[in-house]
């Protein structure tokens, strides 16, 4: 009798033990520096690998999106498992900064980044940049038929002809810039135009692919998706041209990718070293030489030479540290876009 009993309890106990051991070992395992990465997974990986190679510091990456992480960090508060937060755009940085959860960045790191790519208070820093473009179907649109301003796309004449990825953080940063530049009413009106006219896609690369296959004539995306695809097979961008709005148009907005350190971190030294590395020559070289095609923003650090230089983009002047992401999500929810 006891044999049967034992065998059963043994099996039960074994599986329970297995489960707890698994959970336990995974939790006890030293994660090193925990980075909440809302940057592209591949770029985050490249940076981290280069950093670990140079310093020997172990880094664990959790992948997500800008606003998801920003709100998550706020809910986690002091108990956040994250040490460092990297984003694609700056509004999420502003949100976390506003909640008072960032620790000041070391001066040496800040000195590596020009003033216009970081907030004055030094609570986070820019690490890369990207510019808004209108990716258009070269076989359908010629120079003279392109929109002069991004705001023109709200015009009924553009109904059904363009696309965007409104649910993404990338796009929400553009809307945040628009909100700062033109105010709430103009933004509302433009979002309504977007809802009426544009085809929504999941992600910039998908939107570009749609332009390429002739589904829409153009899409508001960031520049590097095109360069990235061209560098690979060009399969998703062979019919696509890039139109830079310039003229300080909201559509010429340059969005700053941010990096910040959580006040609650137990790894302050390593975290500071990480951001210092990202903005250093070696870190910025990952942008220049890798396949991310984002702009390097470090002082005197060159970007990939295939890109139109940042200085030539004639971007509007936007105060990155005050972009209001919360309001943007509100407006977009009200407009029925998310």
């Amino acid at each position: 009798m006891n044999i049967a009993l034992n065998r059963f309890s043994l099996a039960l106990a074994a599986s329970l033990l297995f489960a707890t051991a698994l959970a336990g070992s995974a939790n006890a395992q030293d994660e090193g520096l925990v980075v909440y990465n809302a940057q592209h997974e591949s770029l985050g990986r490249e940076w981290i690998d280069a950093f670990t190679k140079e310093t020997g510091i172990k880094v664990t990456m959790r992948q997500g999106s800008d606003m998801q992480f920003a709100n998550q960090i706020i809910q986690e508060g002091d108990a956040s498992p994250a040490d460092v937060f990297l984003t694609e755009n700056s509004p999420a940085m502003t949100l976390v900064d506003g909640a008072g959860l960032f620790a000041p960045i070391e001066k040496e790191t800040l000195d590596q980044v020009p003033d216009q790519y970081r907030p004055a208070d030094g609570m986070w820093t820019g690490i890369a940049a990207r510019t808004t473009v209108f990716a258009y179907d070269k076989t359908k649109l010629t120079e003279d038929k392109l929109p002069k301003s991004m705001l023109d796309l709200a015009d009924p004449a553009w109904k059904g002809r363009w696309g965007a990825a409104p649910a993404g953080a990338d796009f929400q940063a553009i809307v945040a810039a628009l909100l700062q530049l033109k105010g709430e009413d103009a933004t509302k009106a433009w979002l309504k135009g977007l809802k009426d006219n544009a085809t929504p896609y999941k992600g910039n690369s998908v939107a570009m692919k749609a332009v390429n296959s002739g589904e829409v004539e153009g899409a508001v995306i960031y520049h590097y998706y095109w360069f990235g695809d061209q560098a690979k097979t060009g399969e998703n961008s062979k019919n696509v041209g890039l139109h830079y709005f310039k003229n300080q148009d909201p559509g010429a907005f340059v969005s700053v990718s941010g990096g910040g350190i959580l006040k609650s971190t137990q790894h302050m030294k390593e975290a500071q070293a990480f951001l210092k590395f990202l903005t250093s020559k070696a870190g910025q070289a990952v942008l220049k030489d890798g396949d991310s095609y984002e702009y390097a923003i470090g002082k005197d650090e060159p970007s990939n030479e295939k890109l139109t230089p940042l200085a030539d983009l004639n971007a509007p002047k936007v105060e990155a540290s005050t972009l209001d992401s919360k309001k943007v999500v509100e407006l977009m929810t009200a407009a029925g876009l998310i």
Binding site: S15, A26, Q68, A167, P200, K202, S205, V206, M332, T333
Partner: protein, 555 residues
């Protein structure tokens, strides 16, 4: 009265178990209709005399599981209450929700009838006609289950890049999910008593009318169960619809989650989604009706004749061939093409580690779900009662919730109330247990029902305590069923996406989440190995599902 001759397959049992939430109050009726597992005549069935069994402790255990199951629903209720009616109104009664509702209604109301027509035709061909290679077609009809739904759409989108919207949504949904209908319908056809058809024919009905008036009505339970299962899947499916750009509540909730983490807006969408689930469950009860389908009387039915197809054999064979090309050919060829284009470079070390993590999570999750389901499974067989039915309803309803909703609740609860559990394997496993609890109940219930209660009694007569008797007799006899439960839950965990994305510990990647992040960068080539490994993992489990349905149907 007996229910012999109506011995259902485990697969069918699974389908019905899954929808049991709606059927709880009709338990007896279901038993009588032969669509429940017990095969022992009711009078001597497995219910034990009161007071002799460890009811109290088992009920306590089952209650604990049931309370856990209520957490997601309670959470949505709490958020709703917390934000206040005004906010709820602005978040729920807005055009966007209307759009999503229209999308959902259209999707369901087109996909389900198409799937029914397809599954019934195919099942009839393979079970009741002299179509050549019937067994092969039956196999191929079930095999698409081994391909995760979002891999189906990945295959189609890379073949036809312009696929999007409602039509594509319906098309891929039918392809990915019709086996859920084929399986129970074929099983039901297999064990129909031909005497009813003979009677109908002798009354002068032509073969078509015999089919519609005598055969089809008898398939009603199978069709309702399968349809409900597909309908619930359509509500919770995320990857499939994102890939072909069709917005549903599940995709919109994830969008909201990514824009604002855990806002009232995403929870309100979750609330509407839960309401849709409950509506479907209720609707199915209405449609299923109260008729009896059981054979009454002694003896067993004679084997059914297979109908001669004659010249119709050509179109008849074409149907399963075309279907196999669409459901299996396309995914395999696309996968093969990407794998070939990628060469050996795409088999990075990550594939191996994701494979391992997936297997471990699937097995541990499957085992835990089975353990959690055990008290309820035992109770519902050995000691059914009114309170037990309520408990059982809690077990079943949670499995009909989309992963997104369960994950949203667990994210907030762990971060606010039990922080040490936040972003741990423990929480992820709790989510898996909740989501796949009904699957785990299936095999267990079936096999406990087949373990004669007399043996337990004999053991007690020989001096074992009730607890010992259950452990030494019933649990051991139920072991094969428990294994099936683990496998079914593991299959679900292997393909689970949204809850894993939201809850997984730092640095954990499953095959599904890796596949997902690569496809969202439209890196189809690098995504291919992950998809391939998911199919490799799912194939043996699907195979088991099939052989079990055959075995228990007596073939």
């Amino acid at each position: 009265m007996t229910t012999s001759g109506n011995r259902p397959s485990k697969a069918v049992a699974f389908l019905f178990q899954r929808v049991k939430a709606s059927a709880l109050l009709q338990d007896n009726r279901l038993l009588a209709s032969g669509n429940q597992t017990p095969v022992v005549p009711r009078a001597t069935r497995m219910v034990l005399p009161r007071g002799r069994m460890p009811h109290a402790s088992v009920i306590l255990l089952a209650t604990v599981v049931a309370i856990f199951s209520l957490v997601p629903l309670g959470f949505i209720g709490w958020v709703t209450y917390d934000v206040g009616w005004e906010t709820v109104k602005t978040l729920v009664f807005r055009p966007r929700v209307g759009e999503l509702l229209v999308n959902t209604v259209l999707l369901e109301s087109i996909t389900i009838p198409v799937s029914i027509a397809l599954a019934v035709t195919l099942a009839w061909l393979t079970e009741r006609t002299d179509i050549p290679f019937a067994r092969l077609w039956a196999w191929l009809a079930i095999a698409p289950l081994a391909v995760p739904a979002f891999v189906h759409s990945y295959a189609w989108v890379s073949l036809v890049p312009g696929m999007r919207g409602l039509q594509s949504g319906v098309f891929v949904s039918v392809i990915a999910y019709y086996p859920f209908l084929y399986l129970p319908v074929a099983a039901a056809l297999r064990r129909l008593d031909p005497a009813i058809e003979d009677a109908a024919a002798s009354l002068g009905l032509n073969p078509w009318r015999v089919f519609f008036r005598a055969v089809l009505p008898q398939l009603r339970l199978a069709i309702c169960g399968g349809s409900l299962l597909i309908a619930l899947h359509l509500l919770s499916e995320y990857g499939l619809f994102v890939m072909i750009r069709f917005d549903t509540f599940a995709t919109a909730i994830v969008d909201q989650f990514q824009s604002s983490y855990n806002s009232p807006a995403s929870n309100m969408l979750g609330g509407v989604l839960v309401a849709c689930c409950l509506f479907l469950l209720g609707f199915e009860v209405l449609v299923r009706g109260n008729e009896r389908y059981a054979r009454v009387g002694s003896g067993s039915p004679r084997p059914t004749d297979r109908r001669r197809l004659g010249w119709l054999v050509v179109p008849a064979v074409l149907l399963p061939v075309i279907l196999a090309i669409l459901t299996l050919g396309v995914p395999l060829v696309t996968l093969g093409r990407w794998l070939y284009l990628g060469g050996t470079d795409i088999w990075r070390i990550d594939v191996g580690s994701a494979f391992l993590q997936t297997i471990v999570l699937a097995i541990v999750g499957g085992v835990l779900a089975t353990i959690a389901a055990a008290p309820m499974a035992w109770l519902s067989v050995r000691a059914p009662g009114r309170f037990q039915r309520v408990l059982e309803a809690c077990h079943y309803y949670v499995g009909s919730l989309p992963g997104v909703v369960v994950a949203l609740a667990l994210v907030t609860i762990t971060v606010r109330l039990v922080l040490p559990l936040y972003q741990t394997f423990a929480t992820l496993l709790v989510a898996y247990v909740m989501l796949f609890l009904p699957r785990a109940m299936v095999g267990l219930r079936a096999s406990i029902a087949q373990a004669p209660v007399e043996l337990e009694r004999a053991a007690m007569g020989l001096g074992r305590t009730p607890g010992q008797a259950v452990r030494q007799i019933t649990m051991r006899l139920a072991a094969p069923g428990a294994a099936a439960s683990v496998a079914l839950a593991a299959l679900g965990i292997t393909n689970e996406l949204t809850a894993t994305l939201m809850l997984s510990p730092n640095g954990v990647d499953t095959l599904a989440t890796k596949f997902w992040s690569l496809t969202s960068e439209i890196d189809y080539v690098s995504a291919a190995p992950y998809a391939f490994m998911m199919v490799v993992l799912s194939l043996p489990l699907t195979l088991m599902l099939y052989t079990q349905s055959k075995r228990t149907a007596g073939q």
